[in-house]
């Protein structure tokens, strides 16, 4: 990350386009995903890496377990409220440049599960570059999404991506706030003060159940 920024700032404007092409070509040809398989879409992601639909020929050679070595985070599966801060922390741990593919209907918008437990769309937590519909999407759709992401990467400029300053990253999820408490709220039989969140979706307003 650091080197290309230094070079880009040193070069005049017209020469950075050549640098851009080179760097973007390098980045798009080796997009290494971070393993973030959550639910059923993870199995289709595993199918996409298996021998029949081989994602490795597009550059995603290995799925890095550590987010610090990964380029793209493929959020595959439903994100529950307990998992959401973990997702954000893993995203913050990835170094720039990083992209996010939201795979499947649950990651894109909550999917089939419009209820208290699932975050309605992972773009409420992290910025998403490519959305894939489907429940679960076929492996070929994931490959198509990776190719779309590669097109997007080719159109970027090397000056767009800088490391987030550390304070901003820390502000997103304050360390130590993962929801592990002493559980005392379970013993109190209280409910939150606010009104229930019952904004009916459009198809439900038509008639009563």
């Amino acid at each position: 990350m650091g080197l290309e920024n230094v070079i880009a700032e040193a070069l005049p404007e017209v020469l950075t386009t050549r640098l851009d092409s080179l760097i973007n070509w390098a980045r798009k040809s080796s997009l290494w995903p971070a393993t973030f398989g959550l639910a059923c879409c993870a199995i289709e992601m595993m199918n996409a890496t298996s021998s029949r639909n081989d994602l490795a020929r597009f550059g995603s050679e290995v799925f890095r377990a550590s987010p610090r070595q990964a380029d793209v985070m493929i959020v595959s599966g439903r994100v529950s409220r307990k998992m959401a801060p973990v997702l954000r922390r893993i995203y913050d741990q990835m170094p720039e440049p990083k992209w996010v593919i939201s795979m499947g209907a649950c990651a894109t918008s909550g999917g089939v599960f419009d209820n208290y437990a699932i975050v309605q769309g992972v773009d409420k937590i992290v910025p998403v570059d490519v959305y894939i519909p489907g429940c679960p999407p076929r492996p070929e759709m994931l490959i198509h999404a990776v190719m779309m992401l590669q097109d997007k990467v080719m159109n970027e400029s090397v000056r767009d991506r800088r490391d987030i300053p550390e304070e901003e990253a820390r502000e997103a999820v304050v360390p130590g706030t993962l929801p592990i408490t002493d559980g005392s709220t379970a013993q109190q039989n209280t409910l939150p003060e606010s009104r229930p969140y019952t904004i009916a979706s459009r198809h439900e307003r038509r008639r009563s159940t």
Binding site: P179, T185, A186, L191, P192, S194, Y197, T198
Partner: protein, 169 residues
Amino acid sequence: MTPEETPSSDTAPSPSVTALQREHPEWVREVIIAFGETTIVVPRENIADACTFLKTSPETRFDFLADICGADRGVEEEPRFEVNYHLFSTTKYHRVRLKVLLNEEDTHVPTVTGIWKTANWHERETFDLFGVIFDGHPDLRRILLPDDWQGHALRKDFPLRGYEPYSLK
């Protein structure tokens, strides 16, 4: 692999009912036989004793606790909550359901963790989703919902979409 005793038919009472009714009739509040299954409603105080009896009695031998399942009958129902214990015998292959009915104000039930260790997580789940408190449980805390969640999600008065949309703050 033949069972030692064939499972009961629809009309004949299952051996668990006959054994319980013979030995401890005060523990059997009601017997329901429907859809090929036997349900015994047990008063809340006697559930642990009834389970121990059914586990050790040679006629019934329910050594496998398949499931503990809570249910909310409805906000205006009285009693409101029920806890179902599904028992299975690995030697005789028969099943029975024990039911405990609870009012809304007093949702305490003695734990059966000492009888089958698997009840540990089932009871935690019932506590988490319904608020039924199991007295004597070694580690009663939330298991599925986040630790700081307010309310019990599967109660009928808990709205489907929760109370507020998710935000990081």
